[in-house]
Symmetry: C2
Subunit: 329 residues, 2 copies
């Protein structure tokens, strides 16, 4: 794997969960309200300390076939009044109701690119996820965030039996050093054993975290964090703090095990079939093991804004709702 030499460290890698920014049950439908709030939160988080300056909208394209360019292109006379310098973030988003249908219909995740249906599904999946990617880049750009699409397949990400085999970390680092916010996403990629597969946003995050070593990582989801059982269960308890040891094993620190149902492990495992939460915890645990704090929090809330701003780095206030996953020596 190539070496990446960043000019400065990255502040945060943030995952926009597919379920948080799209309407899960409606094909290729963006949750516009959430996406707008998340974009605004990201701007506030990236823009700490320079709030007095104006935002320069960076999406100068037509929307829904109608040109509203004139409204975003106000008079740029004195450029100095505009802030376009943002702190160093990387954004990775999931697919939600984009890509999933196309991928599962054709079995892209199982490989076999020589089959017509898989090949067609690979193309269809990429069209769907890059459509979402473009909309997210545009939402961020409207907030004045200098966002740049970096679609993993085309940026040279590939896998070997579903593990990352190559990744253009240099391109990501170069974009960050040039003052841009790279926006990656879960994607269909080539796999040197299977032919092709799906590379999830969570795996991308872990890989980026390992190699770019951000100060912290935030997962924005559609629930308040990690629960001991499916959050739809009325008895579900939010796990506020999870500790990860050197072997990568994780245990619940808050609430204390004594105060909780003893069946935590079993119910979390059962949860996996419905929401992939164990996979998410495993990925998060591997990031935490590097000494990087991970926050899992509901998108578009005051709690997620605090996480994004890095306010939780030293101390988790009692009124903060979410899950922090940390390394404990």
């Amino acid at each position: 794997m190539e070496e990446t030499n960043l000019n400065q460290t990255i502040r945060c890698i943030v995952k926009l969960g597919g379920a948080a920014i799209t309407c899960k049950n409606e094909l290729e439908k963006i949750n516009e309200e959430n996406l707008d709030t998340v974009s605004s939160h990201l701007r506030q988080a990236m823009n700490l300390g320079s709030c007095s300056k104006q935002v320069m909208g960076m999406d100068w394209s037509k929307r829904d076939g109608v040109s509203d360019i004139s409204s975003s292109l106000c008079d740029f006379g004195d450029q100095c009044q505009f802030n376009v310098d943002f702190s160093r973030f990387v954004v990775v988003h999931g697919a939600g109701s984009f890509g999933h249908f196309q991928a599962s219909k054709s079995g892209v995740h199982k490989g076999g690119l020589n089959q017509p249906l898989v090949k067609a599904g690979f193309v269809a999946t990429r069209i769907s996820v890059t459509t979402l990617n473009l909309e997210i880049v545009r939402a961020l750009a409207r907030e004045g965030i200098p966002s740049i699409a970096m679609s993993p397949y085309s940026c040279g990400w590939s896998t070997s039996e579903r593990n990352v085999a190559s990744a253009d970390l240099l391109g990501v680092a170069k974009a960050i050093d040039s003052g841009f916010i790279p926006v990656l996403h879960g994607d269909a990629v080539l796999d040197d054993r299977l032919g092709c597969t799906i590379l999830s946003g969570d795996v991308i995050i872990r890989h980026l975290a390992e190699h770019l070593r951000p100060e912290y990582v935030v997962f924005l989801t559609d629930v308040s964090g990690v629960y001991d059982r499916p959050p739809t269960d009325p008895n579900a308890v939010l796990l506020r703090e999870i500790a990860v040891d050197e072997d990568g094993k994780w245990s619940v620190v808050k609430p204390t095990p004594q105060s909780m149902n003893k069946q935590v492990e079993i119910t979390v495992a059962a949860h996996d079939t419905t929401g992939g939460m164990v996979t998410k915890i495993s990925e998060a645990a591997m990031i935490a093991k590097l000494g990087i704090d991970v926050y899992i929090v509901k998108a578009a809330t005051s709690h997620s804004l605090r996480a994004l701003r890095g306010e939780l780095r030293h101390d988790i206030p009692d009124d903060w709702l979410g899950t922090v996953i940390r390394f404990s020596r």
Copy 2:
């Protein structure tokens, strides 16, 4: 520059001229009719010899917010009846009425990424050109062409004083070897001297031709080929054959100079300020110098279909309308 080892040679690199596939005078408007015809022509050209098989549509996404997935996802019961193997093409498109406004408003081509307006324009330009790119990928996919977006900036293309300094040729080769049709485009890129600039589709074509050595190159434009003066001039004469010598100098072979206005060179030079035709001829001449025939022809016509199918490789029929640029030893 990295070495590229292709499994087999590439048949054709085709440029979809911005003016041919967009409505020049209307901001961000695609010429749908031309794009559909060009896509169909490309399918016919890539699909020689297997016309008996059915086409499998590969765009399974909603269009204009409406889902027509069911119509493209007919019963894929017997996959063998579908043809998804296409001959090895690379598509590069220009920007037309996408990107141009954003780039010129901000001066992205002049560099200076540290200026707020240039940085914003860089982001805005990429949003605009990737919007067009996505629509072209979708139009090709609807025709059953396994097209894959490979946006130059995110694929690691960069320049040094506007000359290509790095390019992900390996990624392009890998996509082709995996049976896909890469779709690149003119883009805003980083420049190690200027900060940033615009990398034109024509320069990308030349670079790809140099390193991937296709059998032939086709430029699809909005006029019938190269003329001795602006084609709007009623006395304009179509130059049917241009010969390029070892020094890269080019001369008109057909029609014979005797039959023509003697001021060819001057009028072509004057033409440059209006249409960049001299730049195009220079790029084409450099490709021809490699021994690769270049055809410049009007998009969405029977003439362009013949060029795409490779019918002109041995002999140019008298009824073919267009310009061929060839190396003459």
